[in-house]
Amino acid sequence: MDGNGDHSAEPRYPDWESVYRDNVTRVYRMLYGKVGNRADAEDLTAEVFVAALGPLRLDASAPEVRAYLFTTARTVLAGHWRRTLGLQVTVLDGADERWLVDAGPEPAPPSTAPQRTATILAALPEPHRRILQLRFLDACSLREAAAALGITVGYAKVLQHRALKRAAALGEAGA
């Protein structure tokens, strides 16, 4: 499609604005998948762009720019966990990098969380699966989840904790 003789390279960004516009959603989604909440995802996304846009070179290709954003995001996420929980709870790995760097023009679906979640949930016994489904995916309050399951709020709390423990064990086994 390119008929002007500029075949030399991959697409390039004309300026930082286009780097930002093209990647802000991708970076945000990627980080959201690793922290699970908006406040942290917003802060970390801002940190990535503030740190990365200064040293970026205009002559880098779009995939190179994204690879650089990814590296910055990985460092930023590591710093976040060091500060907040003292150990690396989630990491950005090769799969995330491929997702960001190779992603087509329209932002891809948010990470692999939905598939991973489906796998985890499918492996849990019924009450555990139900409470996590209600609390995490259907955004029910503890009270609503308890009512839906016909149990007390106190027991719903215990059940959720056990279910998470079990999900964690599954997650570790699968990791």
Partner: protein, 238 residues
């Protein structure tokens, strides 16, 4: 039970509070994060956040550009960023105005558009012309280089675009996609300008030919063009 509080915050949409976690707790939190991130509405950045961060980055760009202003005349210039003919290799500098030309916003002290942004989308067929407040005519081609039916790319550093000639005369349009600012490529066979980022194409007169976006991007802004003494000139900001 600090993991419990962390998960409560996560589910309540609050910023989770920090604590010293051990490995078992980290595994639980990892599972909770995976589950929370799989919510259907999760992962969509708020528009206000995206715009606010954009504004902060613009400010940072302007600061770093004025801090590194290379000449006294640039330092005296009334605009925060000098758009010289020499393209900087550093992404920050010189890019805000190019982006503004693409987006039709921010640097209106530098480039004024004949149409307000709302009018651009409202008035069908009405294409804005980007007219710098302070500019110069710069030659982009010889008359003999551009026959009827011809299209040529030009790159003046601060402005990139395409100039074309048809039966009605000369025309110049910005070479920056109005969607997110990627640089357009010329497909001379079809007299089309293709965006490599999201498969959008414009005709050489700036009108939208095809796109795959949720909302159609605006037409390409026109640039002022003139022909004299055998040369084709474009009016660009200094």
């Amino acid at each position: 039970m600090s993991t419990g509080r962390y998960v409560r915050d996560l589910l309540g949409g609050r910023r989770p509070r920090r604590f010293r976690a051990d490995a078992a707790q980290a595994a639980e939190l990892r599972a909770a994060i995976t589950l929370a991130a799989a919510r259907p509405e999760a992962g969509e950045p708020r528009a206000e956040f995206v715009e606010d961060l954009h504004r902060r980055l613009s400010e940072q760009a302007q600061q770093s550009a004025s801090a590194s202003a290379p000449t006294p005349s640039a330092a005296r210039a009334p605009v925060p960023i000098r758009l010289g003919p020499t393209r900087r290799r550093v992404l920050w500098a010189g890019s805000v105005a190019a982006g503004a030309a693409a987006i039709g916003a921010t640097a209106d002290h530098l480039i004024s558009s004949h149409a307000e942004p709302e009018e651009q989308t409202e008035a069908a067929g009405q294409v804005p012309t980007l007219e710098p407040n302070v500019g110069t005519w710069q030659t982009v081609a010889e008359t003999s280089d551009l026959d009827v039916g011809g299209v040529r790319r030009f790159d003046l550093g601060s402005v990139v675009g395409f100039v074309s000639r048809d039966a009605a005369g000369l025309r110049a349009v910005s070479g920056i996609c109005t969607h997110q600012g990627c640089r357009l490529n010329l497909d001379p066979g079809n007299r089309e300008l293709d965006c490599p980022c999201h498969n959008t194409s414009f005709a050489v007169d700036g009108t939208l030919v095809r796109h795959q976006l949720y909302t159609p991007p605006p037409p390409l802004p026109h640039l002022q063009v003139r022909e004299q003494d055998g040369r084709i000139d474009i009016y660009v900001p200094v």
